[in-house]
Assembly symmetry: C2
Homo-oligomer: 482 residues x 2
């Protein structure tokens, strides 16, 4: 595990020699597998491919066996389907379960198809109920029924309970096993309970939840506090206020709550306020990462087709927005059509008009990105919306003014026409002002309508700035120049 | 704490009456303060502003007192500087410290200016060393010296040690206090040690690190495992492999490691592999959130000026990229200049050319967003780069073909000129192919050069698609049409 001792520099030359080193210890292999940042080394992927190409099953098993399940999942993402099929048989049932639960959706579906229902059921029993449910959710009708039927009754019940909650809610994220105790218990009683309870407790837990007789959480104590307190201390003495999550809360809100209050775990309650499970922060880290990635992709108008998707799937994931954009771009271009005579008289207009549209688009995108971020982190709401909108308008005017001067001077230098300078300067000020307005009002409006402001904001904003860019520049040119 | 009992619908009508309700219990206030998603209610911010406007210090203290420190920090972000100044005196030393550590950088600087060095020193002593160091780092020369001098010697040493590491590294994120034990200790011995150690232990801990005689981590055990095991069990029996973080690791890599292996805490080691501290996941959640936000802003070419920044600061944070863009847009426009004669002969070209550029820009941005996300999550590296580049090229051709058909048909419907259709169709295929290439190669190249691919990729990509959009369409028009 001591990564700093790995001699990674040695690796490329070894790999290029393409011969088999059977004298490596498992520790050597692990050091070769991962970089200093724990990311999988490309050279290791090549080693795996080489072993598979040579049909060297023993070496393949050794290479895969040296990896943790998270790294095997990672490796799968870098392999093509044929190689993945050779890796799966190298995994024991527990590792297979963990790998499946780590895989991206489309890879997971592919791997699931190759595993026999009974083997899969056995593998799923090794997982926490929330992770197992996640996998079962990806199974098609008949296979799902077969796998559930082959599972242990308790595990099946847990999975079915989890699946009864909607996707991306707290109910799906939570695990049902929790450590709960009444407030009159002492620390000693609680520890004894933990030692005896065995399987009813979660594999890992970080807080004991103190519940009232109706099983409603009234407080919590971190396990480290439990460890530190004297055995005779009552839980009532050490308990702290608790932040409850309701079972139907959206996962993005759960992430916000965990991040805001720096939670490690939180009790999940049903509509009646009764404790039904817990969410731990390790699941939330993934959620926060995912939500951030979704926003990046949504702003660019693209959905994630998945790591190993084919050309057609990827193309299809990008087409909808491109088609919408064809429509908006054509509409904006129709503005130009209305000014054909002006352009025919002065072709220079055709040269400068895209600059006005482009700068507006960029300024609008800047405002939009800041607004989407602020909305996601709840830093922008009704309490400061007016102030922020006014500030953006002022920023639009200021930056419009600065760009007007720069482009004005440049235009004069090239075309020696002060009226043209005035036209492009005014058009830039107007378009950057419009960009600022669109960049802040579009996401605010979508948010108000309970729509995700990251999705489809861009198309509105760039349409507005294209349209207004052409209209303001060509319109002003018509008035001032011709 | 039972949020679901809050009658939030009642709130707007109450607030609009603008009279003082002194019959609310602190619980009522807390329910009024927060929405179901634990975000601060805009109405509550208005209540605070009302109280401050009326000069009702008692009510203000009551409203602020009902909030947790994270919510006070949130509140501050929604207030203007004048109101913030009135809120600060309502906070006791511990809450003040927590609020300061939660505040955004520019708000923090402002609040720090108003707090006396001695009071600040006292407040900082309440924080974990990593959080305190973070605050001290924001203090200017003389005030920093005064605050450090006023701090307790141990706390000062911890802060100075933390500051000796570079910003955004593991050394800065870690806290020095850890629970470490030799492998021959029993669970009972370890628990007794925890009960007696007191202040030398972190306030919260989730793992005990098992160290060798040179204080190098050789394993770890979760606290819940410690609780569950029998007192006579030795740590060697229950310890699991441990994922070490080196003290100079970049925080983004630390976040990747925590996310990948679902870590709750991890030991930090120095260059010699010796345990020097620990990082806990609650700090990492913030890091992951931050890194995601940074990528969104970087892709849009904007830096975060801060929540309460003035018009000038915000304008300045957006200008650099706009100015660069003026340059690139003007350069792309100069291509149009080279085709003035063609445009003068057929003004229709001026109408259609921005559509080619715009669609290319959008397709390039889509590819770029996917590539940046894949690089950030280490899903794209030398092992699959060639495959992904080839796939993007194919996607560019496919989508270029689809858009060529759509725009070709639309162009024929409007202009009844099949040569014009052919021109725009071919130009779209060329530009979407170029967009795909730029969208994947630019971030890959920046990553290879150890530059952040999210920063400045956009400007390269949109320049390329603008330039090639104009060049391919007008160039083809010159050959095919005139």
């Amino acid at each position: 595990m001591t990564r700093e001792h790995a001699d990674l520099n040695e690796e490329p030359s070894r790999a290029s020699k393409h011969f088999v080193d059977h004298d490596e210890t498992p520790e050597d292999l692990e050091d070769l597998a991962l970089g200093d940042d724990y990311a999988l080394n490309p050279e290791y992927v090549r080693k795996v491919i080489d072993a598979a190409d040579r049909g060297d099953a023993e070496r393949l098993r050794e290479l895969v066996g040296a990896l943790r399940s998270e790294d095997v999942a990672d490796l799968m993402g870098f392999l093509t389907a044929d190689y993945r099929e050779e890796v799966v048989p190298c995994l024991d049932s527990e590792t297979l379960a963990e790998v499946i639960s780590e895989l991206d959706d489309n890879l997971r579906e592919e791997v699931l198809e190759t595993v026999h229902p009974t083997a899969l059921a056995k593998a799923l029993e090794e997982l926490d109920s929330d992770d197992a449910a996640d996998v079962v959710d990806d199974l098609e009708g008949e296979k799902r029924a077969q796998v559930l039927a082959a599972m242990d009754a308790d595990d099946r019940a847990a999975v079915e309970a989890s699946l009864s909650y909607e996707d991306e809610t707290a109910g799906r994220l939570m695990q049902r096993e929790v450590l709960a105790a009444p407030q009159f218990w002492t620390v000693g009683q609680t520890i004894d309970h933990v030692r005896n309870a065995g399987d009813d407790l979660p594999e890992l837990f970080f807080d004991v939840y103190i519940v009232d007789p109706a099983y409603r959480p009234i407080g919590a104590a971190p396990v480290s506090t439990l460890l530190r307190a004297k055995r005779e201390t009552s839980l009532a003495e050490i308990m702290e206020p608790v932040t409850e999550i309701t079972v139907d809360m959206d996962q993005e809100e759960v992430g916000y709550t965990f991040n805001k209050y720096h939670l490690i775990s939180a009790p999940v309650v049903d509509a009646g306020g009764r404790l039904v499970g817990q969410i731990t922060v390790d699941d939330i880290v993934g959620v926060i990462q995912e939500e951030g990635e979704e926003d990046i992709l949504a702003l660019a108008g693209v959905s994630d087709a998945g790591r190993d998707a084919g050309v057609w799937d990827v193309a299809r994931s990008r087409l909808p927005w491109l088609v919408v954009n064809t429509l908006t771009a054509a509409t904006a271009a129709s503005v130009i059509g209305a000014f054909q005579e002006e352009i025919a008289q002065l072709v220079t207009l055709a040269i400068l008009m895209p600059v006005v549209a482009s700068l507006g688009g960029n300024a609008g995108t800047q405002t939009l990105a800041v607004a989407v971020r602020a909305l996601a982190s709840r830093e922008l709401n009704a309490a400061n919306a007016v102030r922020i909108v006014l500030r953006e308008m002022a920023v639009g005017l200021v930056n419009g003014g600065v760009l007007a001067v720069i482009m004005g001077v440049a235009t004069f230098a090239v075309f020696q026409d002060w009226k043209l300078c005035l036209t492009i300067g005014l058009a830039l000020i107007i378009n950057l002002f419009v960009a600022a307005l669109a960049g802040i009002l579009v996401p605010l409006t979508l948010d108000k309508l309970d729509r995700d402001p990251a999705v489809s904001s861009s198309v509105f904003v760039t349409f507005t700035t294209d349209f207004m860019g052409f209209l303001s520049f060509l319109g002003l040119a018509g008035v001032l120049l011709l």
